[in-house]
């Protein structure tokens, strides 16, 4: 993470030039990866950092997307207004759901979030006059940044979403290992003990839930801006499951893991399903291989490789020289 100031901007620059080299299809695919990347990043705050595994995160995606879409249709096509509407809706929903679901722990929390998101789903599904029911909300105007700048070209949409994505990633990078971020990590490790050292864990869990939910709403509104539609399928529990898998496959609790996971799943799904009908089987097999051979996700693999190639000498020393870890006696003997 220390070298991010160099690597980050470089990566950003590469991404800026991507549309000049890749066909529009890949630009669109990348845009989608960024959107789902934000979604996965938001869930990672809950799952990877605070240790609360949620199976209902799609509710916030949906809240953000529907609010943004409805705002675009009924109020104004201004994109910032749509996003604001999406953020607000997701925020409010997160406050409500967080209030009681954070009281439960572990598997109960998972199921409670699932229940809440299914309730959100069925509200969206059954409120046909507003949401279009199972057919979804369609015909949402393209990006309009105000002052008559309408981004109807997919490449501009790409840039817009790239910028938003970069900002989110930058902030999350700061947040992940900040003092507040480490409070959340502490809760993941041992909530009871965190209380005993003076943290109101219920409050922090709620904060975590609200941040994650609101960011989830952001990705939902970006989705609407990008695709021009939203349907209940994106709010169904399977959508929550798939973002959870992105986080886990990529590497929970790491910065890049969720993004890599999102890219991996999107690419895998798009490419494999074009070439063979039984793509679910392949994805399933990939999961299994990951769990058994790379339990820390893709980021775990990278780290292992890095360790293997970058510091092979150090490892050998470790193995050869039988230094037992505790060598505190030296300090002791001095005194």
């Amino acid at each position: 993470m220390r070298n991010l100031p160099v690597k980050g901007p470089l990566l950003f620059l590469i991404m800026v030039f991507v549309p000049f080299f890749l066909s529009i299809f890949y630009v669109n695919l990348l845009t989608e990866i960024f959107i789902l990347g934000v979604f996965a990043l938001s869930l990672n705050i809950l799952v990877g950092q605070t240790g609360m595994v949620s199976l209902g995160h799609a509710a916030f995606f949906g809240a953000g997307a529907y609010a943004a879409g409805l705002a675009a249709i009924h109020v104004s096509t201004n994109t910032f207004l749509s996003i604001a509407a999406g953020l607000l809706a997701a925020f409010l929903l997160a406050v409500i759901i967080g209030l009681f679901s954070t009281k439960a722990n572990g598997f109960y929390f998972l199921m409670l979030t699932l229940a809440c998101s299914q309730i959100v789903y069925s509200i969206i599904y059954q409120w046909r006059t507003v949401t279009g029911g199972s057919n979804g909300l369609t015909g949402i105007a393209p990006i309009d940044l105000g002052a008559n700048i309408v981004l109807s070209n997919q490449v501009w949409v790409y840039y817009f979403i790239l910028v938003v994505f970069t900002i989110v990633l930058f902030l999350i990078n700061r947040f992940l290992h900040s003092p507040l971020g480490s409070v959340l990590i502490g809760i993941r490790e041992n909530e009871e003990r965190m209380k005993s050292i003076g943290y109101n864990t219920a409050l922090y869990k709620n904060i975590s839930f609200i941040i994650a939910g609101t960011l989830g709403g952001l990705s939902g509104s970006l989705y609407v801006i990008f695709n021009g539609f939203i349907s209940p399928a994106e709010v169904y529990w399977t959508a929550s499951g798939s973002v959870l898998i992105m986080v886990l496959i990529g590497g929970a609790g790491t910065l890049w893991g969720p993004v890599i996971g999102a890219a991996f799943i999107v690419i895998l799904e798009t490419l494999i399903s074009s070439y063979m009908e039984n793509w679910m089987m392949i994805i399933g097999a990939v999961f299994i291989i990951f769990v058994i051979f790379a339990p820390d996700g893709m980021v775990g693999i990278f780290n292992a490789l890095k360790k293997f190639f970058v510091q092979p000498k150090k490892l050998e020393v470790d193995a050869d020289e039988p230094i037992i870890k505790p060598i505190k006696q030296e300090t002791k003997m001095d005194g």
Partner: protein, 231 residues
């Protein structure tokens, strides 16, 4: 009865035990002393098979058990009172005692354990997780006794026990020894340890740095103090 020859153990890449040699003779008590973090628990865990990455020879009644699985080792007649007690918190006190009991070769049964620790009988139906620290220690000892092992591995069994209880447990240990039970005891309190030991080992950074009979050690406590860094 039990002997370790040049045992090396690892946690991942860290090499903890670095050639430990140690022997427990039949019907005797060997005591393992050492400061915190020197490898006492690792030695015990290597014997019972909780540590899997290890080399060397651990022979029990003439058979090398170093490559066996925990449950196989335990079934050979090795009982353990682990550090931190590790009772089954979601079982009742009685279940903790009876579920793993091995009554085939007589000796200890529920009644006897209850007689030794009346407190456990009072709490018989409680969730073991609700017991006080000392009560959990008693339960852990009782659980090991119920297996009627040939050798007992005791990792700081008196931790958290009141002085009265420490006395009683020590008495039991002495009686067990008289009845022919062998044991390997890890203990922090030197006085307590010496009072029942037949052999004393001191471990430092994963190596046995001292071994003698307690009488010899008592004659020259400086050595012990030196190895244990007591000034």
């Amino acid at each position: 009865m039990l002997s370790l020859k040049d045992v090396h153990s690892y946690y991942g890449a860290s090499h903890i035990l670095q050639g430990v040699n140690l022997e427990v003779k039949k019907g005797s008590a060997a005591v393992l002393l050492g400061r915190n973090g020197m490898g006492k628990t690792t030695a015990i865990h290597s014997i019972i098979g909780f540590v899997t990455k290890k080399e060397g020879e651990i022979s029990f009644e003439g058979e090398n058990v170093i490559n066996l699985k925990s449950h196989q080792i335990a079934r050979k007649g090795i009982g353990i009172v682990p550090q931190g007690r590790r009772i089954f918190t979601n079982l009742s006190v009685k279940e903790n005692l009876t579920v793993f009991a091995n009554q085939e070769q007589g000796g200890w049964d529920l009644e006897k354990v209850y007689k030794l620790f009346p407190r456990l009988k009072e709490r018989e139906k409680s969730h073991a997780g609700n017991l006080s620290g000392g009560e959990q220690s008693m339960l852990s000892i009782g659980r090991a006794l119920m297996r009627n092992p040939k050798i007992l591995l005791l990792d700081e069994p008196t931790e958290g026990l009141s002085p009265l209880m420490v006395g009683e447990v020590m008495e039991v240990i002495v009686k067990l020894k008289e009845a022919g039970m062998s044991m390997l005891l890890v203990e922090q309190n030197i006085a307590t340890a010496l009072s029942i030991a037949d052999d004393v080992y001191i471990i430092n950074k994963g190596r046995i740095v001292y071994h003698d009979r307690p009488e010899e050690l008592k004659k020259n406590m400086d050595i012990a103090y030196h190895h244990l860094a007591i000034s």
